[in-house]
Symmetry: C2
Subunit: 214 residues, 2 copies
């Protein structure tokens, strides 16, 4: 598992470019790989430094604790998720168009960055209380972006959604679990999974576009 | 997290009753809790023995390695999943009735036994090659049970499923991810999640029952 060579849905190279300097970025990528492979609790800062080809002392210049590395990874991942979902929610078109865009981009990210996404999604309990509160707030904003699209679709008569919070949860859950099963050696690309899932989600909300495809 | 007090959807007490003798069962329950809390790789057999109130020597009477404990947990979990899905697939009624039953029972299990289910779903990579092959074969049989229901529904003109393997994967994925987000302190019971998800999945396959609810 090498998150350094993960790409986005379009094949674009996305090497945690928002993290600088280079040494801090290399350490973050090493931490993602170590956490994904052995779990947060089985990984030491020494393991992470070694994977990055650096000394433990060099690591401490950039990150004071292992939890700080996890928080940084979690924050980057959650900010990206919120950006993708907010962009779709605020975008042009009908509620169906916006839901389609949200699901496609969110699925593509979880498929292309499945190693990072697993760490982001499965190690939440290891965050310290303050960091956890911050991340939970970001998750609530992501949930709200999707719920807003569904509510708009219901108000416009486009969607039929008897349980708005439950359906919001299910849509996000379906997309997030792509990180668990997606494999670069499998027979579907991130784009193909995005297309399939956008159709399935439009069906879940009873969008006419999905029904008319029959 | 105490898997010893997990219950099934009906509130029935399910203490790994198929595992005997009592000491072996206590060790298995302790292993589930330890793996769920700290991850497989961060857990030692000493940790597990201690949680079960036993000595490491007593543990070795029942399990030779930590991997044997994980394999036993994974096998019990996967056999249960296969049993639930096969029972639904072989059951009476229309394809929609059988899909409804499959989703309800699978979701209820992942909600009620979310601690066990997380270990079963997230620690597959830690199994030895032989055990992994065995578990992958069980997973294929579970997939096949769901795919059979979808194919029957398409053949009977009940369902509209353009991508049969992809939709099978998505249905199982949606249900499995319940283990990640479900919390006993949340505001939905395993039964309520099962009801919501059965409706959403019937919509995904274009079942008339779901469409007619509009």
């Amino acid at each position: 598992m090498d998150s350094a060579v993960e790409t986005d849905g379009s094949g674009e190279y996305v090497p945690w470019s928002e993290v600088t300097p280079d040494a801090a970025r290399r350490l973050l990528i090493a931490a993602v790989d170590a956490f994904a492979e052995r779990g947060y609790h089985a990984t030491t800062t020494r393991d992470i430094a070694q994977r990055a080809g650096m000394s433990p002392a060099a690591l401490y210049i950039h990150y004071k604790t292992k939890e700080e590395l996890l928080h940084r990874i979690s924050r980057v991942g959650h900010l990206k998720a919120l950006e993708l979902l907010s962009t779709a929610a605020d975008g042009p078109g009908t509620a169906a168009d916006r839901l389609d865009a949200a699901v496609r981009s969110f699925v593509r990210w979880h498929a292309a960055h499945h190693t990072t996404a697993r760490v982001v999604q499965y190690e939440l309990d290891a965050l310290g209380p303050e960091h956890r509160t911050e991340i939970v707030a970001l998750r609530r904003r992501s949930d709200a972006a999707v719920r807003r699209i569904l509510a708009d679709g219901v108000a416009a008569g486009e969607f039929d959604v008897p349980d708005l919070p439950g359906t919001t949860l299910a849509v996000l859950s379906l997309c997030i679990d792509v990180a668990r099963w997606f494999s670069l050696t499998g027979n579907r690309t991130p784009d193909e999974v995005g297309t399939l899932y956008a159709d399935l989600v439009l069906r879940m909300v009873g969008a006419p576009a999905a029904r008319d495809q029959k």
